[in-house]
Symmetry: none
Subunit: 263 residues, 2 copies
DNA sequence: ACCTCTCGTT
DNA sequence: AACGAGAGGT
C-alpha cells in the first residue's frame, strides 16, 4: 500500500512538465527515503534523476519498496487536470497494475481521482558517484534558459567556459558566432538573482544545445540552477525542488572534433 | 424598419463567439419580444437557442417580425471590429437584403458602420417544450469549462451523475479513467462561486465531450451555468445573458451501448 | 495569486 | 483556426 500526499501539488505538475519531453517511459521508485526516478532520455544520451524526499510529503506511507512503470506523457496529461493549488495524493495498492492520482481543491469542494495503468519497464539503475567538479556555477534559471534558447538560434552546440571572473557561453553556426559572458555577482538585492562561481580550475566543455534546452524546461521549479562541470565527466544541471529534493540532468560533453578523429 | 440599440455591445460580441463554432449559418428572428435565434449545429446533433429580450436594449424598434439569415462567421468578423465598450446598433430596412451593424465608441469619437449581406436560410423552428427536469445543477461556468476540457484529454464522453450531495463527471479512455466530484456548496463568500443542486431524483447520463466543450465557449457571458438533466431528454446547458436573456444549448444523451445494440 | 489578454505557434 | 505560452493587470 502506497499513499503519498503532497500539499503543494503544483510541484509534481512542474516535475512532469520538466521531464516528459526527455523521457517517455520510466519507473518511479518508492521507498522509505522518498519518491524517485532515474531514466535515460529516449536517445540514451542524457540522464534524468529525480528525488522527492519523504519528509517533503504531508503524509508518506510506503509499506514496501515499489517500482511503478509509467508513461510520462499519460501521467502528465492527468496531472494537468489538477489545479495549481490542489493537493495531490498518489495511491497504489500492492500488486495492483494501476496507480491513482487524487486531486483535492483547496476548499475541498472538488475531489477528482484519475486512475492510470502501470506498465512494465526494464531499467538498469545506475549508481551515480558523487564527484568533485572543477567548476560549479549557480545562476538564475531563467537567465540560463534564455541563454540556451538564444544560442540555439545560432548554433547546435554550446561551449561553456568557466574562469573565476565568470562563465562564458559560446556557439557558432552558419550565420555567425555568439558569446555570452555572465560575470560572477554575489552582491545582488535578491539572492535568487545571484551568479556564483566556485572554481577549482578553469574548464571549457562543449554540449549539445538540444539537450540543454530540454533541461531548462525545469526552470519553473526553481529560481536558480546549478551547473557542475569537469573534464571527462558529464555536466550536471540541477534544479532544486522546494524543500523536497531535486531534478538533476546529466549530459556527456562533446569530444573535440580532432580528438574524435583520433578515436 | 429595424433598429436595435445595445449599450453593452460586448454582450453581442460574446454571444457570437459562443455560437459561431457550433453554427455557421442561422436566422435571427426579430419580434416585439426580442432578438432571438434557434439553430442546429452543422452536424445536426446539438441545438442552440438564443434570446435577447427587447427590454434589454436601450432602444428597440421592430415594425414587423423579421427573419434575417446570417453567416455567423462573417457576422463575428464584423463584431470583432467593435470595441468592448462600444454601443452596438443593429439596423435593417424592410425588404432589404442587408443588415447594418453600427459601433459607437464610448466618447462618440468613433462611429463605424458595417453592412453585411443577408442570406436565405430555411430552418424549421422547433417548439421546445418546457420540461420538468430530474436534476438541475448550477455551478461556476469556469469550473464546468475546466472539467469538460480536462476530461476530454482522457476520454470522448462524460457521464454526468447527480445525487443530492453533488455532481460527478466521469470519463474513461485508453490511458485510464477519471472522476471529478463537485460537492454542493451554497455557503460561499461570493454567490457566483456557489454550486447548487436541485434534485428530484438521481440521474446519470452520458454526453459527447466535443459538444460540451463547444458549449463552454459561452462561459464569458456568465459566471454561472445551469445544467438541466432528465433521462430521455436532451440536457440543457444554459448561460444567462446579463439582464437580457440566455443562450441555451441542447444535446441528446448518448444511449448506453447495450441499448444501442438492440436498436 | 489568479485571470485576462495578446502573441506566436502548429 | 485552435491551442498553448507569456506578459500584464487586478
Amino acid at each position: 500500500m502506497l499513499e503519498l500526499r503532497l500539499v503543494q501539488g503544483s510541484l509534481l505538475k512542474k516535475v512532469l512538465e520538466a521531464i516528459r519531453d526527455l523521457v517517455t517511459d520510466a519507473n518511479f521508485d518508492c521507498s522509505g527515503t522518498g519518491f524517485s526516478l532515474q531514466a535515460m532520455d529516449s536517445s540514451h544520451v542524457a540522464l534524468v534523476a529525480l528525488l522527492l524526499r519523504s519528509e517533503g510529503f504531508e503524509h508518506y506511507r510506503c509499506d514496501r519498496n515499489l517500482s511503478m512503470g509509467m508513461n510520462l506523457n499519460n501521467m502528465a496529461k492527468m496531472l494537468r487536470c489538477a489545479g495549481n493549488e490542489d493537493i495531490i495524493t498518489i495511491k497504489a495498492d500492492d500488486g495492483s497494475d494501476t496507480v491513482t492520482f487524487m486531486f483535492e481543491s483547496p476548499n475541498q469542494d472538488k475531489i477528482a481521482d484519475f486512475e492510470m495503468k502501470l506498465m512494465d519497464i526494464d531499467s538498469e539503475h545506475l549508481g551515480i558517484p558523487d564527484s568533485e567538479y572543477q567548476a560549479i556555477v549557480r545562476m538564475p534559471s531563467a537567465e540560463f534558459s534564455r541563454i540556451c534558447k538564444d544560442l540555439s538560434s545560432i548554433g547546435d552546440t554550446v561551449i561553456i567556459s568557466v574562469t573565476k571572473e565568470g562563465v562564458k557561453f559560446s556557439t557558432a553556426g552558419d550565420i555567425g558566432t555568439a558569446n555570452i559572458v555572465c560575470r560572477q555577482n554575489k552582491t545582488v538585492d535578491k539572492p535568487e538573482d545571484a551568479t556564483i562561481i566556485e572554481m577549482q580550475e578553469p574548464v571549457s566543455l562543449t554540449f549539445a544545445l538540444r539537450y540543454m534546452n530540454s533541461f531548462t524546461k525545469a526552470s519553473p521549479l526553481s529560481d536558480q540552477v546549478t551547473i557542475s562541470l569537469s573534464s571527462e565527466l558529464p555536466v550536471v544541471v540541477e534544479y532544486k525542488v522546494a524543500e523536497m529534493g531535486y531534478i538533476r540532468f546529466y549530459l556527456a560533453p562533446k569530444i573535440e572534433e580532432d580528438e574524435e578523429m583520433k578515436s
